[in-house]
């Protein structure tokens, strides 16, 4: 397998840079064999993924080693792509936007530095995974709950930095960040929020600090390497009640989104939830060939058979109530009042009270089973999501659903979607499932994704997060006043990272040094 060194460097110059990295982390932690490069490719790439092939990886064990590497990266002009555990699956995994970038693998920095059981926060390093933190809380009988995403293989910090979601009241993970330690592109180490004061006793207590707040500046950006993160955790509630609701008809989306939006707006339902179509369950429990072997998207008649077989609706979603018993019982009444007249039958709840087995509760518990969906088509499976943000309006959701379903059918791909509901918005996650080795299917998936970017822009919706293949066009769709925000991002980037060493191209932010290096 051939590879390219970073743009502008000869093989000999690159080799000198790698030797410098060895002086910091030792020879075993500079990974530069063909096999190493292969392991850092996007495992769900649309095709072979070689357009984003890194030139090597380097794995520090401490913030001080990160500082040393960043300084050497400046000296040797080697761009770095920080990754926490490399499980940003569906968005590129650990792979960089620009080929030839060196992956800065932070997986060895995996300490849980502090958990405060009383005030409900943790301070963690990038390599701490959801399972690690979950087990730590359980083993130490700490009554704090995590918010866990659908794929829990990855890093707690990495998920928050990409604005990943969980499904408890703390599920907007980026909003629970409280204080970070970051290595700046110059190699200096900074702490955000109250941590900017040496000796601060309130780093994880207050999110904003004094003057401008830099925490959100480090989210989905390439302005630094986060080496520690404070994150608020949810105190264990006294009680939870949960119910799964199935909606039989596709057109139920209209009334349901309108009712659910009000339940979210008024905090009756306090958590994000996936309002997903039947394929969410079908793609976990079966493969496509079991239902349909023909060309094009799965016909509606086959979809009906799948739903009948599993006893599921066109749409389904899980709602939970959290809190003191009196609060939960009061909210149960409000939920019943909103939903039951539409459903024509009573909601069925599972109730958990403190002391019951945790499995009965609505606590976030890590699982990787959701990844089963990539096996829907068989072969080397993958998925990629196009997820525009839209208002939680039933009419708009119905229109979007019909338009996107038609687009999937136009490209001959099965329509897997959710209208994931936040406090005041929907993330309309349109997931394309494909076999990476089917060139025609990959081509259609790329075509569909590109078309959906344009469709969303025309409708006034933009994506909340995207795959490394599409960071440029999605950034370009944020074009108010000729894209002034993107120009500001790049002005800041060039000011604080003049050599462009941290994650060039991340979210469409290109430093001057590599502008035009990769499309």
């Amino acid at each position: 397998m051939t590879f390219a060194p970073p743009p502008g460097l000869s093989a000999a110059q690159f080799d000198r840079g790698l030797k410098a990295f060895v002086s910091v982390v030792g020879p075993k932690r500079v990974l530069a064999t063909d096999e190493d490069r292969h392991t850092y490719l996007d495992p769900y790439a649309l095709g072979d993924g070689l357009a984003h092939q890194p030139a090597a990886a380097v794995a520090p064990a401490s913030a001080e080693e990160v500082q040393a590497i960043v300084r050497l990266a400046n000296e040797h002009r080697i761009p770095l792509w920080p990754t926490a555990r490399g499980k940003n699956l569906g968005y590129g995994g650990a792979a960089p936007v620009m080929p030839g970038t060196v992956v800065l693998d932070l997986g060895r920095m995996n300490r849980i530095l502090e958990v405060d059981p009383h005030f409900g926060y943790c301070l963690i390093e990038p390599g701490v995974g959801f399972y690690d933190l979950y087990n730590y809380l359980r083993d130490n009988k700490i009554p704090l709950w995590m918010s866990v995403p659908g794929n829990a293989w990855g890093s707690v910090m990495g998920n928050a930095l990409e604005r990943g979601l969980g499904y408890t009241p703390y599920g907007d993970n980026a909003s629970k960040i409280c204080g970070m330690e970051v290595v700046l592109p110059t190699g200096e180490k900074m702490r955000t929020g109250m941590g900017a004061m040496a000796g601060s006793k309130a780093w994880q207590s207050y999110q904003h600090g004094f003057g401008p707040s830099w925490d959100q500046f480090l989210v989905q950006s390439n302005f630094g390497v986060v080496t520690k993160m404070g994150l608020w955790l949810m105190p264990e509630p006294e009680m939870t009640m949960r119910t799964k609701i199935e909606l039989p008809k596709a057109d139920d989306i209209g009334w349901a989104i309108d009712e659910l939006a009000m339940l979210r707006l008024h905090n009756v339902v306090e958590h994000n939830f996936v309002f997903g179509n039947y394929l969410h369950d079908a793609a976990v429990f079966s493969q496509r060939d079991e239902w349909y072997q023909g060309p094009g998207a799965i016909p509606d008649a086959v979809a009906e058979k799948i739903m009948a077989h599993y006893g599921i609706g066109w749409w389904s979603f899980n709602l939970s109530l959290f809190g003191q018993e009196e609060v939960v019982k009061a909210k149960e009444k409000l939920l019943r009042r909103a939903m039951e007249p539409h459903l024509g039958k009573p909601l069925e709840f599972e109730t958990w009270q403190r002391g019951d087995p945790i499995e009965k509760s609505s606590a976030g518990r890590p699982s990787v089973v959701a990844l089963q969906i990539v096996n829907w088509r068989g072969g080397r499976g993958g998925h990629i999501g196009f997820s525009p943000v839209m208002p939680p309006d039933g009419k708009l959701a119905t229109k979007q659903f019909r338009a996107m379903k038609a687009r999937f059918e136009e490209y001959g791909l099965d329509y897997y979607t959710s209208f994931t509901m936040g406090a005041r918005h929907i993330n309309n996650v349109n997931l394309i499932l494909y076999n990476r080795d089917d060139a025609d299917m990959v081509s259609r998936a790329k075509g569909l994704f590109t078309t959906m970017i344009a469709d969303a822009k025309a409708a006034g919706y933009g994506e909340y997060r995207t795959h490394i293949d599409f960071m440029n066009p999605v950034a370009a769709s944020f074009d108010y006043e000729g894209g002034v925000m993107n120009r500001l991002n790049e002005t800041v980037k060039n000011a604080i990272d003049p050599n462009g060493v941290i994650a060039p191209g991340k979210n469409g932010i290109w430093p001057r040094a590599y502008k035009g290096a990769s499309a």
Binding site: K28, E35, T39, Y40, N135, Y136, G311, R365, V369
Partner: protein
């Protein structure tokens, strides 16, 4: 619907098993030397009972060959090749996630299984 509820129960069991497997993960100490423990910690996310890898293998190879710890046909070189290259929907794992010395022990453990292990 019954099938889905049964599947849910399986997943809960799998989750519980993994919690035990990676207990005491933080602050992270040097991993135990035994291949079995390393397998649980590094591969257990997907390859215990009810895990997503086990589900995929069951579809491809049948129930008897779905659980890796019950397999008697794995050799160490093959295990290492799959881990570093991935297979079908399984991503490749880096030398940071599973260092070479740990992979050697995991591969030796999986290659050591005899027919008697399968019956357990």
């Amino acid at each position: 619907m019954k099938r889905m509820m049964a599947m849910g129960a399986v997943l809960l069991v799998a989750g519980a098993g993994l919690a035990i497997a990676t207990a005491g993960a933080a602050p992270v100490k040097p991993q135990p030397a035994a291949g079995a423990a390393l397998f649980q910690a590094r591969c257990g996310y997907c390859h215990l009972a009810g895990g997503t890898g086990t589900m995929m293998l069951e579809r491809r190879l049948g129930k008897d060959d779905a659980l890796l710890v019950k397999r008697t046909d794995l050799n160490a070189a093959y295990v290492k090749m799959v881990v570093r290259n991935g297979l079908n929907s399984m991503p490749a794992l880096t030398r940071v996630e599973v260092p070479d010395d740990q992979l050697d022990r995991i591969a030796a453990y999986l290659a050591s299984k005899k027919p008697a292990d399968k019956a357990q």
